[in-house]
Symmetry: C2
Subunit: 371 residues, 2 copies
């Protein structure tokens, strides 16, 4: 029996999660485990009604779970940033989910916008650092002079900036990014460990030639870690260059490890080359705590309630969730179910089919039961 | 008569610049102007011999020119960052070249890695801010506690950060990015002005939902500027999303305006979709001062002196240089010459031909003279 927390969220979130739950339950039946879902009412509706994003109580409750199944957040009535920071990033940081794992894999039968690339050419993993970098969210906007204290608190460290900033610009904004040795080290180790079960190649992303302080430290830690894995190939790329190679030579990559912000950018590009956001899952992982699995796309408010959204990224995220809970066989089966639905064209409109959100989930669930 | 400063730089830099000069001289002959070139010995060789990157004297001399024709810098014997910051970025900042103009245009006959995209689908311009953002290069690495003053000085403003930073991390690095109202405003105005001669659509790039301070200001300035151009369409994209659309729907874009760092990333991606770095030029522009035109690729040290490097990006940058100097007809002719060389397969090996670096330049020069 697995207990899983569920945050459907906004827009299409609840629908795609329902579809995912149907599939995961079918996998449970097949492989002999139960899943108990506990729904959390978190998202724009509640925020608009009560002003609450994530309460202490929410967090204390969620803390009891090893896994959260997360739909999507975002609503046109709320200013950009509020829900993203107050819910999604807050969860990632509070639970210290320092690994954001994003497989970039083109499944058979899927169309990529790239010419001449086949499924076997696009199959790598991006390990994105998920708690530091420019995502720490500290900065300010000022005129003239401003004194300020800004703090970042994480499970593994804290830092306090005392700032006295003076400018003659009409208005100035600044933003501070932070990388620590501990923070870089744990995610880079994770990437090298992961490469052991794959092709034993790790590519690091940075821009150490310009942002030399943060990414200089990142690069040093990467090099030191690489020394501990003498049988594993390692290389650097600059973030600008890697966007080119994703498009030109995706077959080059095995495990890509990246600071947070660059990871955000290159995994969207990765999602597109693997066939689009409708197919891209992500896991926010704390190996010793509460992890969270989500499609990497947004809440697409205009499709809400229409039963037309593509649930495959969410179902795939569900497969990652099962694997995380130790149900490897069931996880593999779910992924095979996704492949079967693509093969049989039981897919939503965005992928050229005519199935509904729930229809895709039901089809994969029964495929799992009968195969 | 135009006086142009020349910095060949490192690796293949001097060769591609020679090829470019040949073409620009031919265009001058055809359209009745002379170009006087003045070579500057700047780059890795000099740095390794004398420790000098850019001297006050270099800068005072270069200041006399409206245009610099720049090859490439970078050498394996020098640590990453030294030449980039000490020469390339230093020139951009010293001459306040606040516009980095990068056409993303697929010429006829060129291969793109994208399926189903034709030259008419890939034809837009990226206007990259070129003096601010995380490129200001301020930050530090520390253990325990550190007090520090960091300053940024630009022609239009300066800012001083007094910092007192304390952490319990084993080692921590921070990096500060800066955006000002003035800095954002001038480049966004430039983009809107440019859109008037095009399809009247401007797309802004940011990540205001996470890096809310710097990109919140950027977004506000973008919106305020858009109001002054009521006949011009405007929209925002998040940087992660735009990498997807470059690959999926490049035909969507007309003028894209972006903060510095995101501009670095998306223009490399842009270069790849238009056919590769061998074909991507850039202009670093100060409308009232000294501007600089360069291929956006690097110095490719291993091909140095072999006369095999593709000079087309440099020749295209030369076309931009001529346009900047008011020689619009000659500039157009140079671009037509590039297209002719592609049509006639007078191209280097990377583009499937067998011509040499100088061979391509000579061929385009004589095409200009005889057509
Ligand atoms: C919604 C946003 C805050 C988030 C991020 O930037 O990490 C998203 O783009 C992602 O990649 O999960
Ligand atoms: C060489 C490097 C400093 C430079 C940049 O980051 O701007 C380059 O990538 C570019 O795009 O011109």
């Amino acid at each position: 029996m697995h207990k899983v927390a569920v945050i459907g969220g906004d827009g299409i979130g609840p629908e795609i999660i329902e579809s995912g739950k149907t599939v995961l339950e079918a996998a449970g039946e097949k492989f002999g485990f139960d899943i108990e879902w506990t729904e959390f009412d978190i998202g724009a509706e509640r925020y608009l009604a009560t002003g609450e994003l994530l309460t202490e109580e929410d967090l204390k409750e969620l803390e009891k779970y090893k896994a959260i199944y997360f739909g999507a957040i975002g609503d046109d009535r709320v200013k950009p940033g509020i829900l993203e920071k107050g819910i999604l990033l807050n969860l990632r940081f509070y639970f210290d989910q320092y690994i954001n794992l994003r497989p970039i894999r083109m499944l058979a039968g899927v169309e990529t916008p790239l010419a001449h690339k086949r499924p076997e050419d696009i199959n790598f993993v991006v390990v994105r650092e998920n708690t530091e970098d420019f995502y720490v969210g500290i900065g300010s906007r000022l005129k003239g002079r401003e004194k300020k204290t800004l703090e970042v608190k994480r499970d593994i460290y804290s830092v306090k900036f005392g700032l006295d900033v003076e400018t003659d610009a009409d208005e100035l904004a600044y933003q501070i990014g932070v990388i620590t040795r501990e923070g870089a080290s744990r995610v880079i180790f994770y990437a090298f460990d992961m490469a052991q079960g794959r092709k034993k190649k790790v590519t690091s992303v940075d821009k150490a030639n310009v942002l030399s302080d943060v990414y200089g430290l990142w690069r040093d830690v990467f090099l030191e870690t690489a020394e501990k894995y003498p049988g594993t190939a390692h290389e650097f790329t600059f973030v600008d260059a890697i966007t080119m190679w994703f498009v030109k030579n995706p077959e080059w990559f095995d495990v890509v490890v990246t600071p947070n912000m660059f990871g955000d950018i290159i995994t969207d590009l990765g999602a597109m080359i693997q066939g689009g956001l409708g197919l891209a899952p992500g896991g926010n992982i704390n190996p010793d705590g509460t992890s969270m699995f989500e499609p990497i796309h947004g809440s697409a408010p205009k499709y809400k309630g229409q039963n037309v959204a593509n649930p495959l990224a969410t179902i795939w995220a569900g497969s990652m969730l099962l694997e995380h809970l130790g149900e490897k066989e069931a996880a593999d089966k779910v992924l095979q179910g996704i492949e079967a639905s693509i093969r049989e064209k039981m897919v939503t409109k965005d992928m050229g089919g005519s199935a509904s959100t729930s229809g895709v989930g039901d089809w994969i669930a029964s495929w799992i039961q009968t195969s």
